[in-house]
């Protein structure tokens, strides 16, 4: 069985794309998990993107049905405490959460990867100093940091994304850095250098393809964590204004009716958050299993 360990003897010359997509096809461990994760994610993203077309009703109109009505033919997912249609609210409710997640991951990739590459390649005290900073931030609870940033700067998509990204950047940094460090001293890199290859081409040809699998795994978890953190911020009142339907907001306000035994608002809104996070986590886990035999 061919393993794709980070080997120390042979340069990986497969292109970046094939390193990325390779694990997606072919049989083996983790394929089931990954495919399920991809399926879930695709459905949720499609639902959010197509929300205006597929939602049966306006999710913000109150009084459409009786308040706190259990799921029925007219309202398949029931109504919330103001008589709004839960089905439409669920369909619309993922947009903001997904948007923040995408922004957070984008920020992480744009900042984390280059810093990791540069710092590890440069080495020396600069590298150690940057690594120290990253280690300090790495251990910090993401929610506390997010809360700190948002309390001061207010709630916008960018602020939330930034707050979430800050704690995750060290993960990307570490993953890239370890890869670069292990490859830096390889003979074939020396060979390439003496053949006149510049740093960028070395990074691109040798480092980047090896980094991709680990980065994909981190990206998946990043998405999952971002979704959970955004929902958490909604719960403690630091989320977006209540104008838009949002799973986190519905979960938070649905809690009001919990003592009345109203389970549908909570279960569906919470369930969607869970599913969204699960989808990405499965992708991440499945991909990790396929590319790292130790996890099997």
């Amino acid at each position: 069985m061919k393993t794709t360990q980070q080997t120390r003897s042979k340069p990986q010359t497969l292109s970046a794309m094939s390193r990325l997509l390779g694990p997606l096809i072919g049989k083996g461990y983790g394929r089931g998990m990954m495919l399920v994760g991809i399926g879930i994610t695709v459905i949720i993203v499609a639902m959010s993107v197509l929300a205006p077309s597929i939602a049966p009703r306006d999710p913000t109109l109150i009084g459409l049905g009786l308040p706190n009505n259990p799921p029925s033919a007219a309202f398949p997912l029931g109504t919330d405490q103001y008589g709004r249609d839960m089905l439409s609210r669920i369909i619309w409710g993922g947009r903001f959460i997904l948007l923040v997640a995408v922004a957070a991951v984008a920020i992480c990739l744009v900042i984390g990867l280059p810093i990791g590459l540069v710092s590890a390649y440069k080495g020396g005290n600069f590298d150690r100093f940057v690594a120290l900073i990253m280690d300090s931030i790495y251990a910090f609870p993401s929610l506390v940091l997010a809360v700190m940033i948002i309390s001061v700067f207010g709630v916008t998509i960018i602020n939330e994304a930034l707050a979430i990204a800050v704690v995750y950047i060290p993960s990307y940094f570490r993953v890239v850095r370890s890869q670069v460090l292990s490859i830096k001293e390889m003979p074939y890199v020396d060979a390439a250098k003496s053949a006149g290859a510049g740093t960028p081409s070395i990074l691109w040809k040798y480092v980047w393809p090896n980094v991709i699998p680990s980065v994909v795994v981190v990206v998946g978890m990043n998405f999952a964590d971002s979704i959970l953190t955004t929902a958490g911020l909604d719960f403690i009142g630091l989320g977006l204004p209540v104008t838009l339907p949002d799973w986190g907001i519905d979960l938070t306000y649905g809690r009001q009716s919990l003592p009345l035994g109203v389970w549908w608002t909570i279960v569906f809104a919470g369930g969607m958050i869970l599913l969204a996070a699960l989808g990405f986590a499965l992708i991440s886990e499945g991909y990790a299993e396929r590319t790292n035999p130790k996890l099997r």
Partner: protein, 580 residues
């Protein structure tokens, strides 16, 4: 399984270091099973133990069928202090009303609430010119620490209010600082208030907490006006130094508060209460537990850990409680109103046509029926229904979308150029504000010419933003300080437009009408006329738009009685009782 050679060597070394082949072979599984078994046994014992342990202070004796302790739950909290010179929030005032006593009081359950009964004063007279109020005080009444109550104490208390005169406090809030000229002690048990001009509502104001006597040994009397930075009795951590009251049916024996939020307050019957012989308070101990939100409150009520839940539950909670055989919902007339406020410093809300358009477009039934499930009624005046001189001034044009659209067009808006603004509402103070906001947004956008963005702010921020004139359109509520029409006019319509609402609405005509209301107060017909004009002008200028009025609602278990709710919205713990 192939592994790189050096890896295996390292691995072996690690394992050899950590494990030893000569360790005794202990079966860990048995250990785990034993621990689990132990946990189960402990849990079972604990559960058995806890269900057979009764609550410490509840005793049932063969003699009395009533409980000694009632537990009340609420989501409120004392906002800052329980000092009558400072407290202007519902809960702080409510505490004072149960641990302090006024000179005269309302009749519990009154309807209407225009007559007063003796409390710390046994009788009183008003001079013919309406300027001098003489009160004869009850004798033999003392504070818990032995300080006697007499006319000097009353003068001390009122003088103190005059000196402190906190700008956002209750004394200045209802205008007492300009009404009272001086307080005179005419004899050890007789005190006089001399007013500057006649105020027919003065008796009602005497029944308000700002006029409650305080204990001179606890509450300082500053020598100069320093607002709220001196002289106010703040929470110190010990009840004795945090509570300047002490003549009421209860004494506060415990006040746990952390980081500005109350945790628990314990009240015990006051043996020195002037009306103890009348059988008050009905229940010896009251424990007040504070919850962070309506969910926790409701859960506590359902699980029976509290006997009474008062403020704030959601409309759906009351509705569910009505069909719950273990609970009882108490309803009473309420003088609590909520209204929309415009800040005229924020264009285009300085434009009367815009305000009128919004006032007309509001669909109140959406709020009262969908959000409050019928527990509220539409309100068409800033005077509540049931208040003297109330009339539905805002009813003309209400719900008339065509009228709203015409006003908007006149102001320069259209469906392609809609009026856009932010509607801000508070969280954590009033009930269901998110629903109210959603309903307002829906009804305003039905005109097709308005686009509303909703914004929520926690209560403390909300007040700060209001004070800083940051908000455009926002929601506030009002409870009566005292039962008289001008409590619903004067506070909302200060001459400079600031007050606590920051409407920045200035109208000479309105101010003239308000003065007339004072001068014509003794003549019912003229008074009615003036108040009608005030309400009509309000509707026409629309600096605020009244939305709805709610009943007072309280939920208890079926053993509780004595919940008395009337127009004053005073919640009297001392009337509560519970059968065992």
């Amino acid at each position: 399984m192939q592994r790189p050679a050096n890896f295996a060597r390292e691995y072996r070394r690690k394992i050899k270091q950590m494990s030893s082949e000569t360790k005794p072979k202990r079966n860990v599984t048995k250990y785990i099973a034993a621990v689990v078994l132990l946990v189960i046994i402990l849990a079972g014992a604990g559960y058995y133990y806890s269900t057979t342990t009764s609550m410490p202070s509840t005793t049932t004796s063969a003699v009395s069928p009533y409980k000694n302790t009632i537990v009340v739950g609420t989501t409120d909290s004392v906002e800052s202090t329980i000092d009558p010179a400072d407290a202007y929030d519902y809960f702080g005032i409510n505490m004072i009303e149960n641990i302090g006593a006024p000179l005269i009081d309302y009749v519990p359950g009154c309807s209407p609430c225009g007559t007063f009964v003796p409390a710390l004063a046994t009788s009183w007279t008003v001079s013919p010119d309406g300027l001098t109020y003489t009160f004869n005080l009850r004798q033999g009444v003392t504070f818990a620490d032995g300080t006697p109550f007499n006319a000097t104490v009353v003068k001390y208390s009122i003088d103190r209010e005059m000196v402190i005169d906190e700008a956002e406090g209750p004394f200045a809030g209802i205008g007492l600082d300009t009404q009272i000229n001086k307080t005179v002690v005419t004899s050890p048990y007789q005190v006089q208030f001399i007013l500057n001009v006649p105020h027919p509502e003065f008796l009602a104001e005497v029944a308000f907490t700002a006029m409650y006597p305080v204990n001179p040994t606890v509450a300082p009397l500053p020598s100069y006006h320093c607002g709220d930075t001196c002289g106010i009795v703040n929470y110190t951590g010990t009840v004795a130094t945090s509570n300047p009251n002490g003549l009421g049916p209860y004494v506060m024996t415990n006040w746990q508060r952390t980081a500005g939020k109350d945790v628990e307050i314990d009240l015990t019957a006051n043996p020195n209460y002037w009306n103890a012989s009348g059988g008050y308070p009905k229940t010896k101990n009251i424990i007040i537990k504070f919850y962070t939100d309506s969910t926790s409150l409701n859960l506590a009520l359902q699980s029976g850990s509290i006997d009474v839940a008062y403020r704030q539950l959601a409309a759906t909670d009351y509705q569910a409680a009505e069909s719950n055989p273990n609970l009882k919902v108490w309803k009473g007339p309420g003088a609590f109103i909520q209204y929309l406020v415009f800040n005229e410093l924020q264009p285009p809300f300085n434009n009367t046509m815009v305000r009128r358009a919004i006032a007309a477009a509001i669909n109140r039934t959406l709020i009262t029926n969908t959000v409050f499930l019928g527990q509220a009624v539409p309100l068409y005046s800033m005077l509540p229904i049931g208040m003297l001189y109330h009339n539905d001034a805002y009813k003309t044009n209400s719900g008339d979308l065509a009228y709203a659209q015409s006003q908007l067009t006149g102001a320069g808006y259209s469906s392609t150029n809609p009026l856009k603004f932010t509607l801000t509402y508070p969280t954590g103070h009033y009930a269901s504000t998110d629903g109210i906001a959603a309903a307002l947004k829906e009804s305003l956008e039905a005109t097709g010419m308005i686009q509303v963005t909703l914004a929520a702010e926690p209560w403390a921020n909300y007040k700060a933003s209001t004070a800083a004139d940051q908000l455009q359109v926002y929601i506030y509520g009002w409870y009566p300080d005292y039962v008289y029409p001008n409590d619903y006019t004067v506070p909302f319509l200060p001459a400079d437009g600031v007050g606590f609402l920051h409407t920045h609405y200035e109208s000479a005509q309105m101010q003239s009408l308000l003065s007339q209301a004072i001068t014509t107060a003794s003549n019912a017909t003229e008074s009615a006329n003036v108040y009608a004009q005030i309400q009509n002008l309000e509707a026409s200028d629309a600096p605020m738009v009244p939305l709805f009025q709610t009943q007072s609602l309280c939920v208890t278990n079926t053993n509780v009685g004595g919940v008395t709710q009337d127009f004053t919205t005073i919640f009297r713990y001392y009337l509560l009782w519970e059968t065992t």
